[in-house]
């Protein structure tokens, strides 16, 4: 049932993009969060930061026009917008931890009701790789997560306590899922928006901790994407 109504990744990214103010400094995590850049509302322009030392980058270049010295943290080729800047890695992470970014948007394996985030590894097998994940969860004014509401096998990703290794403690402020928009406040999930097609009971059933209510729950309405 959920699979028939849930938002696509593009729609989740679109919804997250609507909350980014004009002129905000924003870091988008590698992979799915990068999609958020495509859905900035008309008339707003965020300035995107990438950990490897660029502020103010734009879309990917056309195939064949790549310059591999000009990449983002995902090692993808990028272009520059007017007013872009380069800087070294220590300055780049000073922007992150120093509280200079307005928004960081990241992916997740699990988010706990107290804001703990697990998004860097799922167990002890294989080669561990953390990159900038543990840095990015600290310092931005808002640390948002975009994610499917449940795992591929239907288990909640919003949980009472993370069971996967933590990326950061108490760091997430808002979660945009394929079914809802949920804030994290005082150690609880607070439901802000949900798809009109799903009942509160059914949403609660696929959420691993209590969804509290604090005022009205708006309909989560997104365009076809």
């Amino acid at each position: 049932m959920i699979n028939d109504i849930k938002l696509t990744n593009a729609q989740i990214a679109w919804r997250a993009a609507q909350d980014i103010e004009d002129g905000a400094y924003v870091n988008l995590g590698i992979g799915f969060p990068e999609m958020v850049a495509q859905y900035q509302p008309e008339g707003r322009e965020a300035i995107f930061h990438t950990e490897n030392g660029v502020l103010g980058f734009g879309q990917a270049p056309a195939e064949g026009d790549e310059d591999w010295d000009l990449i983002n943290a995902g090692k993808k080729a990028i272009t520059l917008k007017p007013g872009a800047a380069f800087f070294h890695h220590a300055d780049s992470f000073a922007m992150v931890r120093g509280g200079h970014l307005d928004v960081a948007i990241l992916g997740a394996y699990q988010i706990a009701q107290n804001g703990d985030l697990a998004n860097w590894r799922v167990g002890n097998k294989g080669v561990p790789a953390v990159g900038g994940a543990m840095d990015l969860v600290h310092g931005a004014g808002r640390v948002a997560v975009i994610t499917d509401h449940v795992t591929k096998d239907g288990k909640p990703k919003l949980v009472a306590e993370c069971t996967f290794p933590l990326t950061g403690v108490g760091c997430v402020t808002r979660v945009y899922t394929s079914l809802a928009v949920v804030d994290i406040q005082d150690g609880h999930f607070v439901l802000r928006e949900k798809l009109p097609q799903i009942s509160l009971e059914d949403l609660q059933a696929v959420t691993g901790a209590e969804l509290k209510l604090d005022g009205p729950v708006a309909d989560l309405i997104v365009p076809e994407l």
């Binding site: 030392g53 010295d69 890695h89 931890r97 080669v127 840095d135 403690v169």
Partner: protein, 235 residues
């Protein structure tokens, strides 16, 4: 003063078995591929290598690992489009990994170069990467103590260099390079062009020459990512 070195072979000649070597670059961006390959030609063993990644494909650091030169990697992200060299050895227990969050890696290197033995960061607090490290509370928030990171050698890639050791960088190729220049006992930079003193406007110098010991010109340098996409191998 003339820090110019004639060849990449001369530039890496002092790098010895057991040395700790910082290698600049982020993925292929700003990676000193000709210096790395000169180091493979020389072939020192039992190296500790500090880089954001742990090699990609069969060139650069990946080729160093395949050549059995690397005993330990200190890095944040030992994955890439082709991480086979590191992955195989790591899973066989033949190479050690010190995994460091990327911003902590940068700041540890900066601290090493700045004479700051330790610092506190919010990064990794409450995670397995903070295990065993001192925790301190400042203004009601918990922070993890991290130690400086220093090296015997740093090999980096710049764009312009001069005989004083002043450097500029190309695009996002700057990344870890200026930090590593500060943190090694001996820093060697390959640059696309060596200009006369004054040839770099002092206002445009990114790394002041005091942090650089040798500069070698590699005109038209190869780009690691472009080599990987072309299926290149080394040697």
């Amino acid at each position: 003063m003339d820090k110019t070195i004639a060849t990449v072979a001369d530039a890496v000649a002092d790098i010895h078995d057991g040395a700790t070597v910082m290698i600049g670059g982020f993925g292929g961006s700003g990676a000193p591929i000709e210096l790395i390959h000169a180091l493979i030609d020389k072939g020192p063993k039992n190296l500790t290598v500090i880089n954001n990644n742990a090699g990609n494909g069969k060139i650069g650091i990946g080729a160093m690992i395949d050549a059995g030169m690397v005993a330990k990697m200190v890095c944040s992200f030992p994955r890439s489009s082709d991480p086979r060299a590191f992955t195989e050895r790591y899973l066989d227990g033949k190479i050690e990994l010190e995994l460091v969050p990327q911003g902590t890696l940068a700041e540890r290197i900066r601290a090493g170069g700045a004479g700051i033995p330790a610092f506190y960061t919010p990064t990794s607090f409450g995670t397995e990467l903070a295990e065993g490290k001192p925790i301190e509370v400042f203004e009601g928030r918990s922070y993890v103590q991290e130690r400086w990171l220093k090296a015997d050698f740093a090999i980096v890639k710049g764009e312009l260099g001069d005989p004083m050791g002043n450097l500029t960088y190309r695009l996002a190729g700057r990344n870890f390079n200026p930090l590593m220049c500060m943190a090694a006992k001996r820093t060697i930079a390959q640059v696309s062009k060596i200009v006369q003193p004054g040839g770099i406007d002092p206002e445009q110098v990114i790394t002041p020459g005091i942090f650089v010991d040798g500069v070698v010109q590699v005109a038209n340098p190869q780009q690691e990512e472009a080599l990987i996409r072309a299926g290149a191998t080394y040697p």
